[in-house]
Assembly symmetry: D2
Homo-oligomer: 157 residues x 4
């Protein structure tokens, strides 16, 4: 079965995050992975554009029940109609999850993946989570570049 | 954007329903449509096999959060983890919905599509719904063959 | 733990269905059961009003993420935000499910309950489901009055 | 309509978190608020026990489709069957959300509430979220005691 990687990030992002997401999409597509994302703007649109430009397949798992405002680079659209609960569906769909940049919705996706414990999580930029003693929580892998983010998934050893 | 057709049917089905579902899958794949289904056995496995054999793309929208018992012919797997509520996701993902055979889960999918009012519903075999006066409910299109089922979606005029 | 009964029915209903739903709500409240419903108009509003007037507790499991258009007789509001997928949540919440009247949304709830196989389903009026040979599907209990609907749940032997 | 407060926290918690959650439950029940929680162990069980002992009403919004391992102090049980996606339902059900202690599931609830932007979020202990520059994210209200947590909701001015 084809490898699937969920890529999460804010709908409004910086130019740097957009460039990073586009590069992540390209690298995943080159490795033959299907990209799963939230299907709207910002990081979601950038990773989709990057993967599509490299000939890849991109699935958009939308919060809405219709295709309104879905980005144009999706190969397949899943309009769940379940609102933000669809964040759980996105992360369940990834053999690994790559997080680019930070937002509350993005953080919920990172947290749901760690809660599930099924897939490795790689973070590129974005927010940091500390426990009550101020110690960074273990488990999330931190990357310094799109290339390292893809490598740290461990899916292409 | 690629046309997507949701195909619904029981996880345990008759040989006739299995053959019909396989043929529906083949015909959809030949027309370039992506098939969306529930991803497990019976009609779901048959439509996936038919589409895959014809070079098509098949998305399995699973009830479970993992890939346990997903059928082997899925191109893309969405392990929603939302249980039977995923039936709403399947039907939202179709530009049309084709129902092959009958079961309570299948009927819930037919009913949710009609409730949404967004996509045409075509039924091949399966159960019948009557209103309180014994009159068949209007709106569902009834097909006598896989080919007619695909035609009645109205997606390829 | 308190007995919970899910009561399902169309958002737009006849005067007869409204009266029936109100009476079902009253009878359930008198027996100390919590009523779970979809929280909007029609049968949902009537069963809530009937239960509330008899001093009962009513939970509205809404499709929307906010309380917009929720009926005023709900004791507790669960704005799920998961759209029509919330129908699965309503029926999972009942030790029995009573269906008053018919609509596509209502039928999806009846079908999801039968699919789950956990709770008895009683139907008062509404639509009929036949298998491909025209035989009524077994399993659903048919009541002729609100009182019989409550009795047929089997929860108060 | 009755005020509803969602209380979130880990299923496995420290003695301090358990005592805090119990006290939060008691204080909310004394103010007449309905407590909504995840319905299982740890903080969820403690807040339910505290509220119940003070005569309050507690709703457990479960991930599972049945009542398995639900805690015994729930007044009302909503077995959603939608897995961890139910975290979105819990937080949508609160006029305010109080977070006691930290875990990945708990963090997903905090993040989903902040994403929704509808309800104030108060945190008692637990994890900290910093942006990429190491600055604590604004918006979450931090309490030093159960009493302050309830006050900071702003629901009882």
């Amino acid at each position: 079965m084809t490898i699937q990687v969920a890529v999460c990030g804010p709908g409004e992002c910086t130019a740097r995050e957009e460039a990073d997401a586009r590069e992540v999409g390209r690298l995943l597509a080159e490795r033959g992975a299907v990209v799963v994302c939230g299907g709207y703007g910002g990081v979601m649109a950038a990773v989709a554009a990057g993967a599509r430009a490299a000939g890849g397949t991109v699935v958009g798992v939308l919060s809405r029940a219709d295709r309104w405002q879905a980005n144009p680079d999706l190969s397949i659209v899943i309009p769940t109609g379940i609102g933000e609960a669809r964040n759980a569906v996105i992360v369940n769909s990834g053999d690994a999850v790559i997080v680019v940049g930070g937002s509350w919705g993005t953080l919920s996706e990172l947290a749901l993946t760690m809660r599930g414990g099924r897939a490795p999580v790689v973070q590129l930029g974005g927010w940091r989570v500390l426990d009550r003693d101020g110690t960074p929580l273990p488990g999330v892998r931190h990357a310094a570049s799109p290339r390292q983010a893809v490598e740290l998934t461990g899916l292409w050893p």
